[in-house]
């Protein structure tokens, strides 16, 4: 008798996770953003790596990001279970045990940090270790349930990848790496607060102190506008450094004007108007925010390509 026949006709066998369930622990969609921004950071740096080293560097940065995602799913399983957006994640869905998520998170953290050190340099590995610590401990365990500024501070974790990519190539920090970090850091709050405006029940049900829950929706709209305005000098400043050029500056100008217009429209609305059109403006702003970040980093990459052709840069 096999181990499964014992269950047949009696009770359903316990769910046995497939490989894909473990992959879902690593938050593949977040990883795709990490891969893209880290790759841009690495490619626009003034020092080039061997393709094998570059591939390994990006892979282990992505793996580190995935590890922090698994640790986040282990810690946040209780609130993930009550939020519609996250209820299907492997741990709350009962596909993977919380302890397994912890083991996967810790194991992959160690592997990714050591391998990034071996593949590139210790500064990049230390930054990756700090990023994982920041996301898993500072954000998930400490601030997420404590302060409505959770998104602002947690955004730093998502902002590190381009900086790590840069350091993988150069071995040190510079103003360009800091501005790429600042671009994602300042972009995160308006991006997530727009999401919180139209996913309002989720955070309220879970008791997560999002700005919409603690300070109200009018205040959240004002915060979106303020952070969007603060983002403008960062984005334009990055375009004026060595990773930018006329093309990057033009792209940054268009994107930021568009983004500020969206933020002003959100700020001018109230809940009655927003509910009447089912948060169309907030949803459009959220979708555009994804495009905003992608096009900014694509512009850095494009500028680097133009420079190698002898026509880009300042």
């Amino acid at each position: 008798m096999s181990d499964t026949t014992a269950y047949q006709g009696v009770v359903a066998p316990p769910y046995e996770p497939g490989f894909g369930d473990y992959v879902q622990l690593l938050k593949p969609r977040v990883m795709s953003l990490v891969v893209f921004t880290a790759l841009v950071g690495l490619l626009v740096a003034p020092v080039s790596l061997h393709p094998v080293e570059a591939f390994a560097a990006i892979l282990f940065v992505a793996l580190g990001a995935g590890a922090s995602g698994a640790l986040n799913m282990w810690w946040d399983a209780d609130i993930d279970a009550v939020m519609k957006r996250t209820a299907k994640r492997p741990v709350p869905a009962g596909k993977v045990q919380a302890g397994e998520a912890l083991a996967v998170g810790l194991g992959l953290s160690g592997i990714s940090i050591v391998m990034l050190w071996l593949a590139t340099n210790w500064v990049a590995a230390a930054l990756l270790a700090f990023t994982i610590f920041f996301y898993a401990v500072v954000y998930s365990m400490w601030l997420k349930r404590l302060t409505p500024q959770n998104i602002v501070i947690g955004g730093a974790a998502g902002a590190f990848p381009p900086m790590i990519g840069w350091v993988c190539a150069t071995g040190s920090l510079s103003v360009e790496a800091v501005l790429m970090f600042a671009l994602i850091f300042m972009w995160t709050p308006p991006h997530f607060w727009a999401l919180a405006l139209f996913m309002k029940e989720d955070y309220h049900t879970a008791g997560v102190p999002m700005l919409t829950v603690t300070h109200g929706r009018k205040s959240t709209r004002a915060h979106i506008l303020v952070y969007t305005l603060l983002l403008v000098p960062v984005a334009l400043g990055a375009a004026l450094t060595s990773i930018g050029g006329p093309m990057t500056l033009a792209v940054a100008l268009v994107l930021n004007v568009w983004f500020v217009i969206g933020a002003v429209r959100i700020w001018k609305r109230d809940e009655t108007v927003a509910e009447a059109d089912k948060y169309a403006v907030e949803k459009a702003f959220f979708r555009f925010s994804l495009l905003y970040l992608f096009l900014h980093f694509a512009a850095f990459l494009g500028e680097a390509a133009l420079k190698s052709a002898g026509i880009g840069g300042w």
Binding site: S2, T4, Q8, P13, E16, P17, G18, F19, G20, Y22, V23, H50, V52, E53, F55, A56, L59, M115, L118, A119
Partner: protein, 64 residues
Amino acid sequence: MTFRPEHEIYKRRFSRNLGVGLTLVAFVALVFALTVVKVKRGEPLEGYDHVIQPQSVPSTEVQP
């Protein structure tokens, strides 16, 4: 004679084993490729063979 259809649990177990196996093979291949790249570039390597290597000793200490 009829065979009982394979239980779905085996398919998931196989997918997991295959995934882990392929991941390990890819990891070994990557470490090998990294090793080849770093060795071919001729970065400083020190062999612990109990032999004094003049290039590792400050020039003031090398006896003629």
